[in-house]
């Protein structure tokens, strides 16, 4: 929408709805903050009280937004009346795409992922698209940023085998970038620069994403009918994990998620956000307007934009295209981190990315809704620090009340003392309203299940559904203080200039060991014990108010281990708790995923693990041939580089593959001539010991 052009009807409705949201958030916030201010005991510390009220105000407004979003979502889901439901565009259409030029690339960016899982997911989506009869409109791209030499070779081999098994040459492609510039967003941009012009749409996946063919075709149909849409985001459902924490997240995602998604749609309409995956993007405007710059300067808030999805959606909107959330489309899944530590590792990265958005808040042309989303993202982590400050000040005040004499005559000229007045009904009202805002949306989430869809059976029945919500509330109360201290640490360390690396997310249910838990949580436990001990020593009556937080922190290591166990998660499943529909009735695509994951590996004659990709690229004749053929660049490098590679080959022959560093292995894998030379020489090794290092001697003879 260019400046001065006609304003879309949804935009005006959206602005009015957001104005309404502003009022219904601000008015109760002002009233509660006023109550809070009056409740604080006046000890003459106006600055401290003002700060406390300011923090409370921010946090209250923050949780109010979530509350009203759930209410709006509930109204939409129960009444089923939504004039702006974007999926209307494909109502009544059969599963076909009319325009032959409406081609879609399905992008699966990967980075040192479990290859078997990636290929199983690809196969599931591929089969599902084929079943719709629209396969010819879709191409699949595995876009690798992998830095592990073993995984690189495994990816190539898996892609090749997939293409042979499915006759998918020319339909499924694999691309390995040499440099990981701008990470995932750079990987997608690299695709756009090379092949973007060949496609009208691209569906961006995560390594663990699954989308059905039907959903993909519907998304294309909606985009075809609505040329004003730039990005269509589906709400992916969390599935497939078995650890307790992941099962609880899956349950929350299924019960509260639809409410929140519908509510967000109500406020945002075409100013929704792109979540970075499980979405369909119109390629041309994306290429024209959504390339991300590096943020100038030094430090963690500059450089590559980490949380690129929010910024890309803001740029797309700025270019005049809508971003819509198809809250009612099914057939889109993702997986959650299996343990608390994995979740926190991901949060560390997201935290830095979201804090970078402080620099983009006032960028020219961004829509207010996207600025609000930036603030929302910043507060996702900033609120933890505010809450920690709030609790610390509260504890400090409680301690000061014991340690210092109360001042009843703050102004000497006054004749009457100022006696502290305790208004318990105000305090209870405030506590009650805060609790309502926090927990009511969780119970409201059950309403559409109980009333509208009659699907309680898929959640273990009405009683178990209710019990699961109660237990989820308890578990989130236990986990929230641990998340609070970690998120606070992330915010502070980011602001102090500590940057994050690009870690691979764990995608299996291996759990957390005690050693990992103690290494991650020792300082949080010490903080909890110290905090609790000091408060208990000085003011035991206040200790019980703060005890849920200090107990949780003190026990954070065992909590982390316990919630990360798949056995515990399965135990709850056996009891019918935290059930989700996919666990009760496995949908065909997820069943296909399971089958694909359990496909047997093909025959492998060598006496070492097939996961040793580098070794296979040197030794296994087929893999070697595939790898060197795919490199294409058979030009010789600069003489100095060639000499360096010669030395690596000599070292490899003399000392075996284990003597090579990861960098040396990558250097060899990028040099087809040297790899061919090494392949020839290794197979001709006369010394049995040297040959054994390369897996060329039967195990019995070693």
């Amino acid at each position: 929408m260019a400046d001065g052009g006609p304003v879309p009807a949804w935009r005006r409705t959206g602005s009015r709805r957001r104005l309404l949201l502003l009022f219904i958030v601000l008015i109760p916030t002002i009233i509660s903050s006023n109550t809070m201010a009056r409740l604080l005991p006046d000890r003459g510390s106006i600055l401290l009280d003002t700060f406390l009220v300011a923090v409370f105000t921010t946090l209250f407004a923050w949780i109010s937004v979530g509350f009203w979003t759930s209410i709006a979502g509930l109204v939409i889901l129960l009444t089923k009346k939504d004039a702006y439901r974007v999926s209307r565009a494909c109502d009544g259409l059969d599963l076909s795409i009319a325009d032959r030029s409406a081609r879609t690339a399905i992008l699966i960016p990967i980075y040192n992922e479990e290859v078997k899982r990636v290929i199983a997911g690809l196969r599931t989506t591929y089969h599902s698209v084929r079943e719709t009869g629209s396969l010819e409109w879709f191409d699949f791209f595995l876009l690798s940023d992998t830095t592990d030499p073993d995984v690189w070779v495994e990816e190539e081999e898996a892609w090749h085998r997939f293409c042979i098994e499915e006759s998918a040459f020319g339909r499924v492609f694999y691309r390995k970038r040499t440099s990981n510039t701008k990470r995932k967003s750079g990987n997608v941009a690299d695709f756009c620069r090379r092949w973007g012009k060949s496609y009208r749409y691209m569906a961006v996946f995560d390594a663990d994403s699954i989308m059905t063919g039907e959903t993909l075709v519907r998304l294309v149909q909606i985009m075809e009918a609505r040329p004003d849409i730039g990005i269509l985001q589906t709400p992916p459902k969390a599935v497939n994990r078995e650890t307790l924490i992941a099962r609880v997240q899956q349950f929350a995602n299924h019960v509260y998620g639809p409410l929140l998604a519908a509510g967000l749609h109500f406020w945002q309409l075409g100013d929704a956000q792109y979540c970075g995956h499980n979405a369909l993007i119109r390629v041309e405007p994306f290429m024209k307007h959504c390339e991300l710059p590096r943020l100038p300067g030094k430090g963690p808030l500059s450089g590559d934009i980490l949380s690129h999805d929010y910024v890309e959606s803001a740029l797309m909107c700025r270019a005049g295209y809508g971003i819509w959330l198809t809250y009612d489309l099914k057939g889109s899944w993702e997986e959650t981190p299996p343990t608390l530590i994995d979740e926190l590792k991901r949060d560390r990265r997201w935290c830095q990315g979201n804090l970078q958005h402080t620099r983009l808040l006032f960028t020219r042309g961004f829509f207010p809704a996207h600025r609000a989303l930036f603030i929302n993202g910043i507060l996702s982590y900033g609120s933890a620090l505010l809450w920690l400050i709030f609790l610390t000040i509260n504890s400090a005040q409680a301690i000061s009340e014991v340690l210092f004499e109360p001042v009843y005559m703050p102004i000497l000229r006054k004749f009457l003392p100022e006696l502290p007045v305790w208004r318990p009904h105000w305090a209870i009202s405030l506590l009650g309203s805060t609790t309502l805002l926090l927990f009511l949306p969780k119970f409201l989430g059950a309403f559409p299940i109980l009333l509208a869809d009659f699907k309680a059976r898929l959640y273990g029945g009405k009683i178990r559904l209710f019990l699961s919500i109660l237990l989820e509330v308890v578990l989130s109360m236990i986990l929230t203080p641990i998340r609070m201290v970690f998120h606070s640490l992330f915010v502070v360390s980011t602001l102090l200039g500590k940057s994050v690396g690009w870690g691979t997310q764990s995608r299996d249910d291996r759990g957390t060991t005690w050693r990992e838990a103690l290494r991650a949580h020792w300082w949080g436990s010490l903080l909890g014990i110290g905090w609790g001990a000091v408060v208990y020593w000085i003011t035991p009556s206040f200790f019980w108010w703060i005890s849920p937080i200090t107990f949780s922190l003190a026990l954070s290591a065992p909590i982390s281990v316990f919630t990360g166990r798949a056995a515990v998660g399965r135990l709850f499943r056996k009891a019918g708790l935290f059930l989700i529909p996919e666990e009760v009735e496995l949908p065909p695509p997820l069943r296909a995923l399971e089958d694909n994951l359990s496909r047997p590996d093909p025959f492998f004659p060598f006496p070492f693990s097939r996961k040793k990709g580098f070794l296979r690229a040197v030794v296994d004749p087929l893999v070697h041939s595939l790898h060197t053929s795919l490199l294409l660049r058979f030009r010789r490098g600069a003489p100095s580089r060639e000499r360096a590679r010669d030395r690596i080959v000599e070292k490899a022959l003399a000392c075996g593959p284990d003597s090579l560093t990861r960098k040396e292995r990558m250097a060899l894998l990028r040099a087809p001539h040297h790899l061919r030379e090494l392949h020839r020489k290794v197979w001709r090794l006369g010394d049995e010991k040297a040959a054994a290092r390369w897996g060329l001697v039967p195990p019995e003879k070693k």
């Binding site: 602005s15 090749h160 090379r194 006032f362 053929s629 001709r684």
Partner: protein, 126 residues
């Protein structure tokens, strides 16, 4: 996994350790190539007949035989070209958007103007 060397009858006479190593090596190689067992064994046997005394000689012979049989060190597509894992390039450019250098005041004025327009003025298209 059973190695061919454990079945001496599968290969020509292999009396010395070098000969046995050569036998193991060529048999492992043809198994790694994934060709039909009968054909693989025949190739291995021929290469061992030609140069049975060391892995190096046997592998040289096997390589020559494979070349004669039409094996290419490259994986080729139907058109006889080296296999490629991606489609032909269709290049274009992406230029990064201008960001992060704007004064706050201008943005605020634009924000208020846009909101006023959306709420109270202008035509709609829907």
């Amino acid at each position: 996994m059973t190695f061919p060397a454990e079945r001496p009858e599968a290969t020509p006479a292999m009396n010395t350790p070098e000969q046995r190593a050569a036998g193991d090596r060529v048999l492992l190689y043809v198994r790694g190539l994934g060709i039909r067992p009968a054909r693989g064994l025949a190739l291995a046997a021929r290469s061992l007949e030609e140069a049975p005394s060391s892995p190096e000689g046997a592998m040289d012979a096997l390589e020559r035989l494979l070349r004669e049989e039409g094996f290419s060190p490259d994986l080729l597509d139907r058109g006889g070209r080296r296999i490629s894992s991606f489609p032909p390039l269709n290049r274009t450019v992406m230029v990064a958007e201008e960001m992060d250098r704007l004064p706050w005041r201008t943005s605020l004025v634009r924000f208020l103007r846009r909101w006023r327009r959306e709420l109270f003025g202008g035509k709609t298209n829907g």
